[in-house]
């Protein structure tokens, strides 16, 4: 338990570095140099050293923003813990806790967005809401199914596929970055933030990418039935690898529109879930 928390903290410290690598990789695809690998850390350090500006909405708003980050930190640690200990020890209970935590984080994020007296922020909040509704329920179902230790190969494969897609959506990357959509909504939900508070929101954004990558790793750990040292190695190697894969995928695509994204995700995930249901029922 303790060692996996230590690993989780190490991974969390590495998350901004992974983010730096992401920016470096994206730059390479753009045929340019890009920022130093530690850039996201530099950004965070700077943001936390800036003047504190409490936005309209005051303390309540600040509280929600900070709480959102803390929930995400907890969820991340839990997720790393589950993936490092592997299949044998992963319990439905932990999966439920994780799902509840991400649910709370999303609720907080939406609350933060719509409580702002800024039309872009509110719009971003609604978009986030639509997107979450079309991905997270499926994520929860497939995660529970995988953790519950279903033996049937087809069911496991379909559940894994759903989880992989949903995990990508969680990362908030193109084409699903519609809640922030810089050229459309002027940074959307983050528009009114400044200084340390923006730093907190940036941490949350990085954590979402981290959770997304770790979820993907978890799929492989669960599928491969890894545990102990092998699952540890998998986490250490697969997290950055997944991160980079996500990056490359996101550079190849454009931003989707909220109605198109919801329709696409709903259709795809609904069909997959129906298949899952059938295969689970048939026991294959």
């Amino acid at each position: 338990m303790l060692h996996s928390i230590a690993i989780a903290i190490l991974q969390l410290a590495l998350a901004p570095v992974y983010d730096g690598v992401e920016r470096k990789v994206r730059a390479a695809i753009h045929t340019r140099i890009g920022p130093p690998v530690l850039q996201t850390w530099y950004d965070l350090i700077k943001l936390f050293s800036k003047e504190v500006v409490i936005p309209v909405g005051g303390g309540w708003y600040t509280l929600v923003t900070v709480l959102e980050m803390l929930t995400l930190v907890t969820a991340s640690i839990l997720l790393v813990h589950v993936s490092t200990v592997g299949l044998a020890q992963a319990t439905i209970f932990e999966a439920v806790i994780f799902i509840v935590l991400t649910g709370i984080a999303t609720t907080l994020a939406i609350m933060r967005a719509v409580s702002q007296n800024n039309v872009f922020s509110v719009l971003g909040g609604f978009r986030e809401f639509s997107l979450v509704l079309s991905a997270e329920p499926f994520l929860a179902v497939s995660l529970l199914l995988l953790v519950s230790g279903v033996e049937a190969a087809a069911s496991r494969a379909i559940a894994a596929l759903i989880l992989l897609i949903a995990a990508y959506v969680v990362s908030g990357r193109v084409p699903y970055d519609i809640a922030e959509a810089e050229p459309e909504l002027a940074s959307g939900v983050n528009i009114e933030l400044a200084g340390p508070l923006l730093g907190v929101a940036t941490v949350s954004a990085v954590l979402k990418k981290f959770i997304s990558a770790t979820l993907t790793v978890l799929v492989f750990v669960l599928l491969g039935g890894l545990s102990g040292l092998t699952s540890l190695t998998a986490v250490a190697l697969l997290t950055p690898l997944t991160w980079i894969t996500h990056t490359v995928v996101s550079t190849l695509l454009g931003r989707s529109r909220v109605d198109l994204a919801v329709r696409f995700l709903y259709t795809t995930l609904f069909i997959l879930s129906s298949m899952l249901l059938v295969s689970y029922g048939l026991g294959v």
């Binding site: 390479a28 695809i29 753009h30 045929t31 340019r32 140099i33 490359v248 550079t251 190849l252 695509l253």
Partner: protein, 168 residues
């Protein structure tokens, strides 16, 4: 998959970034940067001031001195001043690293002493202009140091002496 084509393009192109300021800028031989006024050649005639579209060049007369001021902060780098300068004193450089923390540092001035008409004492030429006019044209120095009015009357007087009318 054609969406992955961009990766192929990127791979083939490699990295194109110029590491300016550690590498030379992307500058061609034709680039027009800030102008430089050579104080040893400038006459202070003001032809450049007249042509300068944004008034980045100004000639101010304080009574004793005429100051040609070049404010690079308003320059549009058209190079017309260099084209019209009769003394070829203005040179278009390739200088673009002109940033400054104060406006004063963006100004360069050439100060010209003014000469007075030797007869009536009114201000006429800048010293440099006088020298170059004397050097390049057949005008005699005794005429050059006069203001146009005095010159005209001196010439009229000299002429009338020669023809022999109205002698005093």
């Amino acid at each position: 998959m054609s969406i992955a084509k961009i990766l192929e393009i990127a791979l083939k192109t490699g990295r194109v970034t110029r590491k300016y300021p550690y590498e030379p800028p992307l500058l061609t031989s034709e680039f027009r940067g800030a102008v430089r006024i050579d104080p040893s050649k400038c006459w202070g005639c003001g032809a450049c001031v007249k042509i300068c579209p944004p008034n980045a060049l100004a000639l101010r007369n304080s009574g004793k001195e005429a100051t040609l001021e070049y404010f690079v902060g308003r320059c549009i780098f058209c190079g017309m001043c260099a084209e019209v300068c009769p003394a070829k004193a203005i040179e278009v450089t390739k200088e673009f690293e002109l940033s400054s923390t104060s406006l004063e540092n963006l100004k360069s001035r050439v100060i010209h002493r003014l000469t007075r008409c030797s007869s009536c004492g009114s201000l006429v030429w800048t010293e440099a202009e006088l020298k170059s006019v004397v050097k390049s044209s057949p005008i005699a120095e005794e005429y050059a140091v006069l203001c146009p009015k005095c010159r005209k009357s001196k010439f009229a007087r000299a002429a009338s002496i020669r023809i022999g009318v109205g002698s005093e």
